[in-house]
Each structure stands twice: as C-alpha cells, then as structure tokens.
C-alpha cells in the first residue's frame, strides 16, 4: 500500500501539484541541492552500477519505489523516511554511507526539507546509464567509412572520419606542410633522428610521384625504426634497469636490457602486437625452450621487489591493467571500483594470475657468471601460493576463509578461458641441460687453465733470469748485504714460482672437477631419460658421480694449497705491522687445507653429492626478513598456465579494450594528441574519445591486419591528416571554434622527447654511434658516450641529467610523458658540451667550401640556408636570411676567434643559435 501511495504522490509532483505539507521554507532544488549529494555519496552502491539491497537512488522515483527494505523516501514524512533514518543513525553498522565521513548536517537538513516538501523532482528524470553500456566495454565493431564529397583531401579512411568531424564543426583542414617539413617529420617520427646531409641530398633527387610513400616504406624498414618505437613502448611497459642500495639489488633485474633488445628486434621484425603481449606475459609457458623469446618476460621480471611481495603484485596488477587494458584495476584494491563495474575481488582475481611467478636469471651461451650476463625471466615457482582478498586492501588483513582463484572481471569475460597447466620440457626446469651450459663451464675453466699456465710460464722465465743475475755491486747496502739481498731475491723468486705452480695446479684440478661433474650430470640424465631401465646406464651414473665427487674434493685440496702458498708469499713480503693479520689468515688457510685433505681422503658415502653445475639462478627475495634470503624457490616441472590464459584473454580479438588502448597509444605518438586523453583509463571516469568511430575503425583494422603495427603506422603517416601544416595561418575560424585542435584540423606540434633531442644533436654532429643493442651505458660512461639515448642506464636512482632535463620517462609509470618548459632546458642547450661540440663540427662541415676566415666566403648566404635546412629542416625565409647575415657580421666584428681552431667562430655561433631555436626541439 505504501508503495502505491508514493506513486500517486509522485504523479502529483510530476504534474506540478505540490502538496504543501512541508514547512514554509525555501523550495529545495532537487537537481542542484539533492542529486549531487546522492550522486557523490550513494550512487556507487545504489545506482546503475550496483543495487545494494535492491535499492537505487539515481532518480527520485526509484528512491521512492525503494528496495528490499521498502521505500527509501516517504514524501512528506522526513522522519519516517528510511533514507533519513540511515544517514543519521548513531550505530556505525547502521549508518550510511558506510565509508568515509557521515553526511554533513546541512546536507541532512536539506534532504529533510526536500522530503518534507514532498520530494519534488523533474518528471523526465532518467536513471543513470548502465555501466556495462560504457563505450569502451562494448565489442569493437568496425564502423562504416563515411562517404564524403571532399575526396581530394581524403587519402584513406582515417581522413574520412577526420573530415566528417570537420564538416560537423565547420572546420577547414590546414594545407599540406612543405616537403622539407614532411621529411623531417617522418624521420623524427619513424626513426627518431633527423635526415643526414647525404639522405637529404638523395631525397632532393627524388621528386617523382610517390616519393612520400617510398620514404615511408624505407623508414619503416630502417632498423632505427625499432629503436625509436621501442622507447615509446618502454615508456608504456615501464622499462627500468635495476636499482637498489649500493650493490644490493632491490628493484627490477640485472641484464634486463635483453628485454629492451627483444622489443627493438620484435618491432623491426614487425612481430604482431598480440604476439608481443603474449610473450611478455607468458613466453616461459608458450616457448619455454626459446631464450630469445624468454627475454620478453622482462616485462614481468621488471616488477621484482626484494622486500615486499604485496607491493610487487600490486604494481603488476596496476600496470598490466593500465598499460594493456586501460583499466584502473588498482582502484578496486581496497573497495569496489567507484566508477567501473569492477568488484574488489576482481583485483585479487587478477592478482591470482601472477601469484605463482618468480624471477630467475638464465645463463646465456659463453658466460657462466650471472653477474656479468644472463637473461632475467619469469617462471611459476609457487604454483600453490594462495591469493587472498585483503580487507580494505590492507596486507595485514587477509580474508583467509577463501582462496581467490584467477579470473577476469565478469563484465569482460566473453568466454570461459580454461586454465591449462603446462608441462615444461626438462631444459626449462633443469636449465643446466641446455646444450650450451656445460660447454660454457668447460670453456671458462679451460680458459682459466690457459691463463694460469701462461702466468706460470712468465714467472718461470723471470725466475730463470734472476738466477742468472750476478750480485749487484755498489749498492748502498755494501757488497755483503748485496749478496744477501740477491739470495733473498732468489728465495722470493722460488716462492713466487711455487705460488704460480700451485695456481696452475688448482686451475687444472678445477678443470678436471668440471669435466667429471659434467660427465656425471650427462650420465645421470641418460639414466633419468631412459625408460627401459638399462642397468649399464645406472651403473655409469653411479661411477661417474663418484668420480665427480673425488675430482671435486681434489680440486678443493689444490685450491686450498694454492691459498696457503699465496698467504705465505704475502707474509714474506709484508711490512712488520701487517704480519699479525696475515699470520692469522695463514692459520685459517692451513686449517682449510687440512679439512680439504681430510675430506679428500674420506671414503665416499651414498649420501655424498657433488656440486652440480647450474644453468640458472633464482633471484632471491627477502619477504620474511630483510637480513636474509627467503627459502629457495625451486624450478618446477609444471607451470600453472595462468598467465597463458590471461594473455589469451587480453589478446583475444573479442576483448574490447586491448586493441583500442594500443591504437590510441600509437595514434598519440604520431599525431601529438591521443583520441582518448586518459590513455591508461578507458573506464567511465576516463575521457570519452574525440573520434569514437575512428578509434574503433583503427582498432578493428589493427586486429584485421593480424595486429600489424607497421600497417597501422603506414596508414596514419600516409593520411592527409598527418601531412597538414602545423601553422594556424588562414584558419581563424578554426582557431575560434577548436583552439586546442581536438578535431585535428592542423598538425599539433610535438615537443621532441629527451632522447630525440640528444640523439639529433649527435646525429647532426656526425658523431652518433650506430651500434645496436647490448648492455646499457653506465652513468659514469654516459658523458663520453655517443650511443643512442635509449641505451643509457635508466632507473629510479640513475638517470642521465641531460635527458632528465627534457622530461624523460619516469620509471614508475609513464603512459604519457610530461612536457615541461623549464629554464634548465635553456641552460642545457646553451651551455652543454654536447651542443657546443656539435656546433663546432657542423659549422666546420658546412663551411668547408670557405677556407679563409679573414675574407667572408662568397657563399655566406648558401651557408646560412644549408644550416637552416640541415639543422632545423626548414628553408629560411628572407627575413631569417637577412637576420642571419647581419648576425654573422656582428660576430666577425667582435674578432672573437680564440680557440676556435680552423673553424669560423661566427659560423659556430650561428649554428649554436639554430640548436637553441624553437624548431629544433619541436616536431612541426
């Protein structure tokens, strides 16, 4: 009955027949005073998104209709309204909203007054839309390409979508940029470097139709393209070299540059985007025996954090969500997502995909020292580690009543992706079986033997020479002392020889030990891999194991003997005050030798084991105590298959987010502005796309092309939209209507990224080193290095100052770079040695035809024009040419030619100014 009454009242309200039962107060404006409060504090649980207790409050009618507990609002009866009772409840378990501060007393008073005034609301009030209908969660359907009349401008479907928006807004697209601007644009965009003079000369010769497309093709096939675009993806995928405290590794992994090289190579090979994502998430399950592909899992290895598993997992969930899906799963860590249809448990279900993984370093052929090289990769080391939901996201409050199984948010689950455990090949979990591992050990120990033998031969030679030496007469010690000194020298030489002999002996014994152990391991594998139960194999395994143990013990003895001899040798030559410490050392060394000898003499018992040669090492964690490593995480024969399932879901063409997010990133870097401004948040709190159909068309095209990124690059850069001038001249109407160029009626100028600024300077100077890949350039070597900037060591703690000045990527997250304009940039371009040196070199090169400094060269104007063309990629206009020649005159009058050597100082000053020109750091 109550409900009926309310509905009748509602009709009356809608009809404007407000029953004046309320107190004589100012009428409350529902839309202005009530709805915003309810929206902010109540809709999350009582709205379109969720209907706790069956109640919705997103329209007044729905509030009056109520939920499981009956009507929430009884018009005319504030005190009797559930809503008022709940927001004013003193019992905290009763009070609404359950989270955060209670409603303010004035808010409650307004609510009361509104209800008392019979809760008036507009008749046409619409409920909030269903969040599942949000554009980004709907399937990608390839839209029809608009058919338009302006077919001259429209080069491809991108232009058709752009033009339709122009037509809607009555905008006139800007004219095409001059050829030299397009050339520089393509070079910097596609390979990250300006064209060299030779390339410019070649291009000048090719003005036949189709030059543009030919250039695009050439640049996309240029291996420098991979370097340029790898840096973009490294931003999004959070590349970071390792960092910690001093030598202690705390974050990311050593040698993670292998992952960087994999990105570069994959982009150059045009590896499909979906495949790249799959490999980064699960190459260890998909290609467990392929070290090249395993490099991709650096994406996950990068999240390693020595001290805290929870932080590691949180970062993983957050950035897989933001980077690959445009989903802020991190906002559902403590409570249900406030905007998107994600429940708190979804955060933990997502985390469960990653719960088993740990990180290890795999040996690369030819290097047994993992401190020097190795591939950082992931493996499922803890297949049974449970995931719990944390109450309010607090690590200290896990809800252990229920283990959370891996799964994707229900909203986005388009089919059941069964998780299939993966049985790994033996080489994956017994990495020492990789064919190169034992070979590497043998080669390394053989090298040690050769080195020890060589130094022994050298010492022997010296000793022979000493023996031949006659007594030296006339020293200050006198003849007697001199012969005694010679005796001493000879004894020293003998002792040194003894040390060298033992050193070589130890190296040889170590070689034998490695050989025997390798043989024992091979025999053990033969036995293990034999299904027939061949007795001989079992016997061989036993025999070789015993030999290995013996050899290892002998090697220990030889090593200890060498150690003793070495301390004795040091003691012989030590100053008196150092002898005490060395004597202590000698005692320890001798004790070790006795122990080793005893061990070697003992019989081998069945429990004894030789030290196996390893092919990989788990990267230890310190979750339990910051002073000691956690118990060893073993390499298992099986992997859970969870990450493969996740990767399949993410890269399934039916996933509505993946392709949209990827094309948005690609578009933003070509065009300067993304289609969806919140590149990491495609949820309801994010920005809507400026061109929804274009975004969907591009996403569908990416998928249809087999996730072919070069295809997408080509489409974008060959469009008319890409080729426009960045000038606003003649487009006053456009400027008035769309000053921020959201409709892409002109080219948006892009501030060059820090790496491109530095690389361009080096390239123009002709000093850029073109070698690709390999370990990063360490901070101490960076000042002198001329390698491309993406090869610089880059971590939270170590960043290159020049690059930092121009807003390089933050390692924590960098979905879009900041673009600051700070005075330090002006200082870097005015005063750094980098620019200074480059200005010299370029001035020298461009003024080659003019040799005399005293006589201004006849082709001064040509020098100026060439410098503009080479350094800035523009043709100088008359005003610029005039200003330039005047400036050159001024400098010449200053007769300031010191230290410039053969170079025309005025020319150097001029080139310096071009480096500081706005266009140098701007991609027009």
């Amino acid at each position: 009955m109550r409900r009926t009454t309310s509905l009748i009242l509602m009709v009356m309200v809608a009809g404007g027949l407000v029953v004046a039962t309320g107190r004589a107060e100012e009428p409350i404006d529902y839309l202005r005073q009530i709805k915003p409060v309810l929206a902010e504090r109540c809709f999350a649980c009582h709205g379109a998104f969720k209907q706790e207790s069956g109640l919705r409050l997103d329209t007044a009618a729905l509030a009056i209709r109520g939920g499981d507990g009956g009507s929430a609002i009884t018009p005319g009866d504030a005190a009797g309204s559930h809503l008022i009772q709940r927001v004013t409840a003193s019992d905290l378990s009763e009070r609404m909203p359950p989270e955060g501060e209670p409603l303010k007393s004035e808010q409650i008073a307004t609510l009361r007054a509104w209800i008392t005034q019979n809760a008036p609301a507009p008749a046409d009030e619409m409920p909030e839309p269903d969040p599942r209908d949000h554009w980004a969660f709907r399937p990608i359907v390839k839209p029809q390409v608009p058919q338009l009349t302006n077919s001259v401008w429209v080069r491809n479907p991108i232009d058709a979508f752009i033009t339709r928006k122009h037509e809607q807004l009555d905008l006139m697209p800007q004219v095409e940029a001059p050829r030299e601007v397009l050339v520089r644009r393509l070079y910097l965009d596609l390979v990250g470097l300006p064209p060299t003079e030779e390339e410019l000369t070649q291009l000048d010769a090719d003005s036949a139709d189709g030059w543009y497309d030919r250039l695009v093709q050439r640049l996309l096939e240029d291996p420098r393209h991979g370097e340029r675009w790898a840096r973009h993806w490294m931003d999004i995928w959070r590349y970071s070299d390792w960092w910690g405290l001093g030598d202690q590794l705390r974050n990311s992994q050593p040698h993670i540059w292998h992952w960087r090289d994999w990105i570069i190579e994959s982009l150059n090979a045009n590896t499909p985007y979906d495949e790249m994502v799959q490999l980064m998430l699960a190459a260890d399950e998909l290609y467990p025996n392929d070290p090249d592909k395993l490099r991709a899992t650096g994406f996950l290895a990068r999240n390693y954090f020595l001290f805290n598993r929870n932080q590691w997992m949180e970062e993983t969930v957050e950035h897989v969500g933001k980077g690959l899906l445009g989903l802020t799963l991190n906002c559902a860590k403590c409570h249900d997502h406030k905007y998107d249809p994600l429940h708190q448990v979804d955060f933990y279900r997502f985390r469960a995909f990653f719960e088993p993984y740990h990180v290890r370093l795999d040996m690369v052929p030819g290097e047994t020292d993992l401190a020097r090289d190795g591939i950082a990769r992931v493996f499922d080391g803890l297949p049974d580690a449970p995931t719990y939901r944390f109450d309010r996201g607090q690590e200290s409050q896990p809800d252990k009543s229920k283990v959370i199984a891996p799964g994707v948010p229900a909203l986005l689950a388009f089919n059941e992706h069964a998780i299939q455990p993966v049985s790994l090949p033996k080489e994956a979990w017994q990495p020492e079986r990789q064919p190169w591992v034992l070979e590497s050990y043998l080669t390394a120990t053989q090298k040690n033997v050769a080195a020890a033998e060589a130094s022994l031969a050298k010492v022997r030679e010296q000793v022979e020479a000493t023996k031949q030496q006659p007594a030296v007469a006339g020293t200050s010690n006198g003849p007697d002392n001199s012969s005694r000194a010679l005796e001493g020298t000879k004894a020293d030489a003998e002792a040194e020889l003894h040390v060298a002999e033992l050193s070589a002996g130890a190296a040889r014994a170590e070689l034998t030990s490695v050989e025997r152990r390798a043989a024992a391991m091979r025999a053990a594998w033969a036995k293990e891999d034999d299904s027939t139960g061949e007795v001989k194999l079992a016997e061989a395994a036993l025999t070789t194991a015993a030999e290995a143990m013996q050899a290892e013990r002998q090697a220990a003895v030889a090593k200890a003997q060498h150690a003793v001899a070495e301390v004795e040798w040091k003691l012989r030559r030590a100053a008196t005050d150092k002898k005490g410490a060395l004597e202590k050392e000698l005692r320890t060394a001798r004790e070790s030798l006795v122990k080793a000898e005893k061990n070697a003499a003992a019989t081998i018992s069945p429990e004894d084991k030789y030290t196996r040669l390893v092919g990989a090492k788990w990267t230890p964690t310190r979750f339990l105590s910051s002073t000691g490593d956690d118990p060893q995480v073993e390499f298992g024969a099986n992997s859970t298959g969870r990450r493969t399932a996740l990767a399949e879901w993410i890269t399934d063409p039916r996933n509505p987010l993946t392709a949209r997010v990827a094309v948005n990133h690609i578009w933003a870097r070509h065009m300067g502005t993304p289609l969806v401004a919140t590149v990491f948040d495609f949820g309801r709190k994010g920005s809507p796309p400026t061109h929804p159909e274009l975004l969907d068309w591009l996403a569908a095209e990416l998928i249809d092309s087999g996730w072919d990124m070069k295809h997408l690059h080509r489409l974008i850069v060959e469009s008319s939209a890409y080729r426009m001038s960045s000038s606003v001249t003649g487009r006053d109407n456009n400027m008035a209507k769309d000053p921020d160029n959201l409709a892409f009626w002109r080219r948006t100028p892009i501030r060059l990224e820090s790496e491109v600024v530095r690389d361009s300077i080096l390239s123009l100077a002709g000093t850029l080193e073109t070698s690709r890949g390999g370990p990063p350039v360490l901070p101490a070597d960076q000042a002198a290095s001329t390698r491309r900037s993406l090869y610089f060591f880059h971590s939270n703690n170590d960043r290159n100052l020049f690059l930092t000045t121009f807003d390089e990527a933050a390692v924590k997250e960098c979905y879009r770079r900041d673009q600051s304009i700070v005075p330090q940039q002006a200082l870097a371009l005015s005063n750094s040695g980098l620019v200074h040196d480059a200005a010299h070199r370029i001035a020298e090169r461009l003024s080659k035809r003019s040799t005399s400094v005293e006589q201004p060269p006849v082709d001064e104007l040509e020098f100026v024009a060439r410098a503009f063309y080479v350094v800035l990629g523009i043709r100088a206009n008359d005003a610029e040419l005039h200003a330039s020649t005047k400036a050159l005159e001024t400098w010449r009058k200053l007769s300031d030619r010191t230290a410039a050597g053969s170079v025309d100082r005025a020319h150097v000053n001029f080139v310096w100014a071009l480096f500081n020109h706005n266009d140098f750091v701007t991609l027009r």
Partner: protein, 474 residues
Amino acid sequence: MLPDASFLLGRRAFLGRTTGALGTMALAHLLGLEGGVAASAAPTRSSLGAVPHYKPSADAVICLFQHGGPSQMDLFDSKPELNRHHGQPYAGDLEVHFVGQKGNVLGSPFKFMPRGQSGIELSETLPNTAKIVDNITLIRSVVTESVDHELALRLIHGGKFQAGYPTWGSWVTYALGSSNQNLPAYVVLADPAGFPVDGTRNWSSGWLPAVYQGTAFRPGNTGLPNLAAPTDITPAARSAQLDFLKRLNLEQMQQYPGNTELEARITNFEIAARMQTAVPAALDLSEETESTKKLYGLDNPTTAEYGTRCLIARRLVERGVRFVQLFLAGQPWDTHSKNAATLRNLCARTDQPSAALVMDLQQRGLLDRTIVMWGGEFGRLPISQGEDGRDHNRHANSIWLAGGGFKQGCCHGSTDDFGYQAVEDVLTVHDLHATLLLALGLDHQRLTYPHDGRPGSLTDVAITKAKPELRLLQ
C-alpha cells in the same frame, strides 16, 4: 637581456590554453607570474582554488631530514625506566622488524638534562640543540605505519606507502609557487657522499606535473649542470647570440602565432641567463662573515660539510626559495648495531649546524616565516638488537619543528615508560602533514590535484582521518 614587452602576450593569452600548455602554466606559476592566487585560470589547477586558503604563519620550509630512524630514547625522549631495567627481558609485546635478534631492555648510555628556560630534557649528545631548545616544538609522539624504511619514507614524504606519489615539498611548491624567478622553488641539497635510501623518490613530484619536483643541487660551486657558458665564448659573443636568437624566435612567432610554448621558451632564455648568476651567488659563501661560518662549524672538519649545506639552505630561503631539503647519504641513523657510537658521530656532525641554522634564521628575522623541521621516518625500540643496536619502531618517533608559527620551547606528546609507544597526544604522519600545510596557509583537504579519477591529496583524509594539531601552533 630582458624581453621586449611585446614578447610576452597578456597573461590571459599566456595561460589561457590547455592542451599541451601545462608546462607553460606551471612555469608561469613557478615564476610568480600568477602571484600564487590567480591560479584558477588554469584548468588543471582549478581544484586548488585560491591559495593560500588561510593566513599563513610560514612561507618557507627547511627540512633537515634524518634518514634511518634516529633513536628517540637516546636523543629526545628521556626514559629512566629504561636504564633501571637495563639487561632485563622486556615485559610485554613488541613489534620487532628483525625477528630473532630480539634482545633485552637496552638503557641509554647518554645523560639527559633539562635545558633552557623551558627545561625540556635533551640528551648530552645534543649540546647545541640545547641552546635552541626554547625555540623549538619537540614532538615525542609521532607514529607511522611501517617499520620498513622505504615504506615509512614514502609515508613521511608523500603520505602513502606506494611509490610514485608527490612529496609534501611538491605539494607546497604546487600550491605556493616560488617568490624568486631566478632559482628553483624546491631545492634539494643532497649529501656529497651520495643519495639517501629510495633515491630521487624522496623529492619526486609523483603525479603532480614534473616542474614541482625537487631540483637537486650538486655539491660544488655550480649547483646546477650547464650553468656556466663555455669558456671560449666571450660575453659579447653570447649577447649577440641571444639577440640573434630573439630575432629568429620573433620571426617564428609571426609564422606560428599563438604558440604559448614558444613564448615560454623565450622567457626561459631570460631566466636561464639570470640563473647563471643567481645560483652561483646563492652558493657563494665568501660574503658570509667568519663568525657566521664559525657558528655553522665550517671551521671544523666534522661539521663543515653539513654546516655548509645548512648555511646554503638559509641563503636559499633568504632569496625566496620555497622548500629546501637536506638529506644524508644512505640511512646513517639506522643503528642496528653500535647504536651509541653511531649516534655520537652523527650528533657531532649534525647537532651544531642544525642549531646554528635556527639561531641564524632568528638573528636575521627569518625564523618567523620559515619552518625548520628535524627528524626521520620512524623511531627505535627500547630493547637491544644483537649486542648494541636498536631495531625499527613505528610506534614512537621524536621530531622537532622550529619557526614558522610553531610554538617555542614547547613539548608535545609523550610515550610510555620505555619509550616504545606514543600514549599521549599521538600525532600521525598525516596529522603532521596537515599541521605543516596549515602553517603554510593551506587546507590539506582543499589542496588537491586530479589523480586516478578523483581529487588526490597529500593527506587523503577519507582514509587517514588526518587533522591539523592546532596546539602545535602559536
């Protein structure tokens, strides 16, 4: 070298653009072009409203941060019970970080005595802090939420455990900008021996625009990289270069009108030129008197390095720098072993310069407007770790504040008899942040910036329940 008036368009044109012009707006703000209050013109700052929100009692901060967790019961918080029970098992539960190295009650080897007019007790290791005790507010009841260094550091600097959040220095700079056009607004004076634990994150701007991050001055007399022009360019030639550059840029402006980035870049060259003299001038101590240098201990090898940085901090604040932060390399106060000896050495190094800074600021009339903060990320335990160390303790930490409207000769909060746990007037790190912001005229609830779809703030009051402690202020 100053720009033509025609170079700078009106402020509205300068700031009125949104896309891609964030850097410009931020720059203008940092330059004081906005005067700190009219910032609402810029959409990204719209959430901030007019600042300061209240009448401030301070407009600058010098934070002398003490990495590692200074031992409060050996420095600031006298606990006779500790010495009475020395060597006995601790009765009751303790949260220890290094499980398995839990020892017995460890008394303090240092004598405490009342100091100054206020009679606040300090340890004998702080003879110079004793001289400024009547200027400081000593808080003995600061609590934090983690016993892990990195997490506790992020909490005290940025209010969150997570990496990637803005530090409070960034918030202050974001809110108040700079009052000196020629120096960065937020300067970090790092230890020449190296960065502290957690590196540059200690002064990161997180998700605030990058211009609000701390600028680390390098040791030595140049401070910033690329400050000096190459030696083979004469001033006349450089001047001609800048003139020429201006011509070229003007030409550009005609070709591409309405380019705010270009305008900002042009301004930058002017500022950069001024910085080239302003930064070395700020770092040049030659104009300081011998008695000032002596006050900071520059004549003593033990105190000279820290003293130099404290003195530079004063010179920076004097010139209008908003926020100065000093760090020590690594985490020296982390006394897991050799607690007493380490504290003695560190106090010998920092006590005199820290106190000198307060005295000097006061002499110059700067203390009234400048907050000096001294403290670390957490305290230490009343029991021993191993033979002679103390483990981390998040339940009690002592921090002192001077100047900027904070009470003088005041002691706030107290701990239990063993100094393990703050029991009276407990102050969370979030409360501390709210209080510091209040002194600077900022409402911690209104100082926000859009993050992850909601207004992000330093104190995140919905979760932390932070509130300013008014009793700390005069």
